[in-house]
Symmetry: C2
Subunit: 211 residues, 2 copies
């Protein structure tokens, strides 16, 4: 089994943080995405989506979505549970994880990929080129500001994003808050619940992967 990856990028970093929390080690092959190695052969033939990470199983099957890679390892090694244990916990991790991705991670990605010259004509990751839409970058920044406040409000009522326990929703939220530096946005200091939660995750060894 091999993980094709570039740990500092936000999607791979989610997988690495998950693996550290699970105490799972894998053979890793680094793909130099900053030099565009993912867009050219041989990588673009190995993974036509041109994305990292990819988990290649011993029989050659490939899992190309970060959260799908995490779910694979959750099923192989259930403890510690990062997608919930009871039916309600499983539902709540899915519920909050989706909200983190749709309201937070997607907002940062839209802000970054529709404004940064590095992503000209690459506004969407994948096999096809799409032009940047400046209005989408603006909207992304506006949504991100709302998301920081909404996340703080959630963390006022709950120790972790999906409830009482650390989960995949915390991993994606934590990495998204860091990723927001790429568009020069960070939570206001007044968001004290978000700050308390973030400091708690800073203290976990898994937070240091990819940095």
């Amino acid at each position: 089994m091999k993980l094709y990856t570039f740990a500092p990028a936000p999607n791979p970093r989610r997988v690495h943080m998950f693996l550290v929390e699970k105490d799972i080690e894998l053979e890793e092959i680094e793909v130099q995405i900053r030099e565009g190695a993912n867009l050219l052969p041989p990588y673009s033939e190995f993974n036509p989506l041109r994305t990292v990470p990819v988990l290649e199983l011993d029989d050659g099957q490939k899992i190309t979505e970060s959260v799908a890679i995490c779910r694979y390892f959750e099923a192989v090694q259930p403890e510690p549970a990062l997608f919930g244990t009871t039916p309600l916990e499983k539902a709540m991790v899915e519920n909050w994880h989706r909200r983190v991705e749709l309201e937070g991670m997607q907002a940062v990605a839209e802000a970054l990929r529709n404004s940064n010259p590095r992503f000209e004509d690459r506004a969407i990751a994948g096999p096809r080129n799409f032009a940047q839409i400046p209005a989408l970058a603006e909207r992304g920044l506006a949504r991100l500001g709302f998301w920081f406040k909404d996340l703080d409000a959630r963390l006022k009522e709950s120790p972790f994003v999906a409830g009482e326990n650390f989960s995949m929703a915390d991993i994606s939220a934590y990495i998204t808050v860091g990723f927001a530096r790429m568009v020069k946005a960070q939570p206001d200091e007044s968001l004290e619940h978000l700050a308390r939660w973030r400091a708690g995750i800073d203290a976990r060894p898994s937070s240091r992967v990819g940095t």
Copy 2:
């Protein structure tokens, strides 16, 4: 336990189709979203996100994301499995389901909500208003055309979207193909693998919910 819903809309319809496949019946409360009842009290106080569906449990807890509601019932009643059984199947359902949502469902939603006068200033579902971005509607239509072809290519190599078995990925993909009628887009007749798969799902009783 109560399901607040409006079955013809694509997100609730996913949940209803899932419940029919599982042979689960629930108390349902219809929310008249076409008349805007979700945007006003009392519903907007019950669910500040203003979305349907919502599953309200007997203790008052609410699950507000369609796929999280489905995962709740998958955990409560595992058979028939719609999110996979083995670790690899679970990973592949997540993998393909995400791709259906990101490449297909999101493309239709962007095309519709950024062009139809009905969604003026409501380009994103949720508690806040966002203006339409015409370029995003155009991009959504372009992406949808690619998605139909990519889905056909996937269904050439696999009987169902995530592999050998019918899964949540088929439910979301099937409903997205139907939903595309709202932006006057349908797969070309030459996409024969998609057509074979679609006809197979048309024949399932679950396909008729919400129609």
